[in-house]
Amino acid sequence: MKRFAQLIQELELSNKTNDKIEALVTYFNEADERDKPYVIAMFTGKRPKRPITTTLIKQWAIELSGIPEWLFTESYHSVGDLSETIALVLPAAEHNIDKPLHRWITELAALQGKTDEEKKDYILNSWNSLATQERFIFNKLISGNFRIGVSNKMLVNAIAKQSEQDANKIMHSIMGKWQPQEITYQDLTAGAHVNTDNSWPYPFCLAYAIDTEPENLGATTDWQAEWKWDGIRGQIVKRNGELFIWSRGEELVTDQFPELHFLKEELPDGIVLDGEILAVKDGKVLSFSTLQQRLNRKTINKSQLDNAPIGFYTYDILEYEGKDIRTTVLAKRREILEKIINKLSTKSIVVLSPVIQFKNWQELAEIRERAREINSEGIMLKHMNSIFHAGRKRGDWWKWKINPYTVDTVMIYAQKGSGRRANFYTDYTFAVRDGEKLITIAKAYSGLTDKEIKEVNSFVNKNAMEKFGPVRTVKPELVFEIAFEGIAESKRHKAGLALRFPRIARWRKDKKADEINTLDDLRQLLDAASL
């Protein structure tokens, strides 16, 4: 496990993609063969069933370190990570065991079904045999939650480089169905398992935000314009009589969307569609907050189905008649797509995302201004001759989003961040004015530079008024402009409305707290938006 601990340290200390890939390549060159599939599984979020609850682990750590529970909690707030907090507060290890990573993982898995006493014995013994960094890794293995800034794409690029194979092929392989205890690294990278697997999706083709005036893109006839939808990007796979729905997070979400299951009967085999899962009622796209009621649920009940029915707006086809057609040009793919969708006998659930007709860029700019009326975020521009790239690629696809709404607010609460930012107040709550009162309107934690965060941090330290656990109330003095994508009524929020995707646009050092927006300003915006 020492080699793996070293990899984690290297990955965490570098913020350069090339260095991280280099560290991964070196790791895959040097590591124990049987460890490698487990590492890939962990980094891609394939987690085994948790053998022990967090509550028990925490309880044992507190017991062993001899500190009161509140002090453990304070420590956790300062560290920002439970596995690490436990690794740090425990007394120093008395022994030293070095076992390969896969042995630790297998032993932990074998704890399933054992008594709490047996589990405790094993965990305490392990803690007592590991140095701080390895203890931290061990705790992460228990939770199975290993997110350390390695994207699937980065991992795939590293494996491709190490095994001297095509990155797309590796992406297919690791996104397919496999179990780390059953497959060798060799077979996994060679894709031995994916041929028999019907489910595998393609890597999504992603667009960059347009960085120039559309006029500079050239002839309008070279471009296909579509609405940019504010839903969940999805891929629908139909092969050998089976239907699979993948979300952009590379998760299988087939069971979450029963509305789409009719495709199993109606869609021919050997087809993969790309599109957007949206909440749709009477042919109208609803807001993202409506769709949210349907996300990440294990079971869906009748009222959820009635309140937030979903639809699939499809805009691309990646596989046709069992053949990968991603290198066929967009214009041709669209033709095939239209043919397929028009043949469906169930209409109005799976529909073509319309192509926007426009004569010149000026006209398209005007059409774009109306995007919000149909709950769209703006326009997608796709080159007629573009292939379906794997991942993000500059030049062929652009997103041309409408400018966000903004509101001036004042910061009223601050909380320490987690992970990289655990020592700093980085999570802020913002308020607008409601008569004499301030009313909370949004929470945001991104959008400031490290330097600005340091400045805000020192303001919080000097101006904290009250303390609720990790939260500090601060003097309402710092004004921030918050950008957001939408506004909706909300019974859960005190303000009676909720902002969609709020983030800090900029710190308005030029403004004072009495110059911020009012709740009425936002209500007017809400009324205008729901017209």
Partner: protein
């Protein structure tokens, strides 16, 4: 009347009419150590340890109005017996012991309990009231023995050499830098930033022995630096100058590096949890050794640490001070850095 009061100017002893580490200008200031959040410019007169004087001379140009004491030496100020005991924090750092009509108060400034090989080792002093810092007053902070940390730093440097990287260590110019210079085992020449060189010279004039180092200057070639070890203060950690070096590898030496978030926040290539402050066990042991009836907890995890002390039966109270402002120390180094940039080292 208590022997010390916390006022808006600093810790005040009315009986002796002097302040300890005042943050606003006063007539008579007693200084625990040379860091900028404890020793401020602008007081009428100063009393500090013999080895803190060279720091005040170097940084503030103070020569005439500074009186000094050695450790264990006692003087009388208006009936208050004042003496200094080693705090082990940096060279010259002292705990100030006050005694008046049988009541004893110790103001410890910043301290660490492990001997660092260069600052006189911390000595617990029995007292009724003990004023303690709490910079690392959380049970997550437990330092490795310094020998172990230096082995890690030395092997990191050796590894950088095999990879043709320039080893850059980031350390406060007062304290951490001298500690590194003293304890690094490798034979590579050490190049130091001018703020560090200036303090080293001042210490040498005062009789402190330090291994020899070279001040960084424009004449030194990049490949010479690559073959040595470069030490700079935090203000330079993200500077263009460092980026201009041959394959720079930056290692930050600070207690905050014990936590992953601390390491990643600074986006360094390596973090070494080498601190000049006491860790959690260090704080607790030091406090217990004083046998104090009351502990006043200043800068750091004041609320948490004092609550814990009370729970384990040691009466403690948190007090607001302006110490622990790491930016103050960085500002002094940064102003030196501006001058450096002009000269384009």
């Amino acid at each position: 009347m208590p022997l010390i009061q916390f006022t808006n100017k600093g810790i005040y002893c009315k009986q002796g009419d002097f302040y300890i580490d005042p943050w606003r200008p006063v007539d008579k200031a007693v200084i625990t150590h040379g860091h900028a959040d404890h020793a401020k410019w602008g007081n009428k007169s100063y009393l500090c340890h013999t080895l803190t004087k060279p720091i005040l001379e170097e940084r503030y140009g103070l020569y005439d109005n500074v009186e000094t004491l050695t450790y264990n030496q006692q003087i009388d100020i208006n009936g208050v017996k004042l003496s200094m005991f080693p705090a082990g924090h940096v060279i010259g750092s002292a705990q100030i012991r006050l005694e008046y009509k049988g009541e004893i108060v110790v103001v410890s400034g910043d301290y660490k309990t492990e001997y660092d090989g260069i600052s006189t080792a911390f000595e617990p002093v029995k007292c009724h009231t003990f004023v303690s810092e709490s910079t690392f007053g959380l049970p997550i902070y437990k330092w490795q023995p310094q020998q172990f940390i230096f082995e890690n730093i030395d092997s990191w440097i050796a590894d950088n050499h095999t990879k043709n990287k320039t080893s850059v260590l980031v350390a406060y110019s007062l304290g951490k830098a001298q500690r590194l210079i003293q304890n690094l085992k490798s034979d590579y020449p050490i190049f130091v930033h001018r703020t560090i060189a200036a303090l080293n010279e001042a210490f040498k004039r005062a009789g402190v022995e330090l291994p020899s180092t070279t001040q960084i200057n424009p004449e030194i070639k990049k490949d010479e630096l690559q073959k040595g070890i470069v030490i700079v203060p935090p203000a330079l950690a993200d500077s263009k100058w460092i980026k201009s070096l041959t394959n720079p590898a930056v290692g930050i030496c600070s207690g905050w590096m014990a936590v992953r978030a601390g390491r990643r926040w600074r986006s360094a290539d390596a973090g070494f949890a080498l601190s000049d402050h006491a860790d959690w066990p260090g704080l607790l042991n030091a406090i217990k050794a004083t046998e104090a009836e009351k502990v006043m907890v200043t800068h750091g995890s004041t609320a948490i640490f004092s609550r814990y002390l009370n729970e384990i039966g040691i009466e403690a109270e948190e007090v607001k001070t302006q110490y622990g402002d790491e930016e103050a120390e960085e500002k002094i180094e940064a102003s030196a850095e501006e001058k450096t940039t002009e000269k384009q080292i």
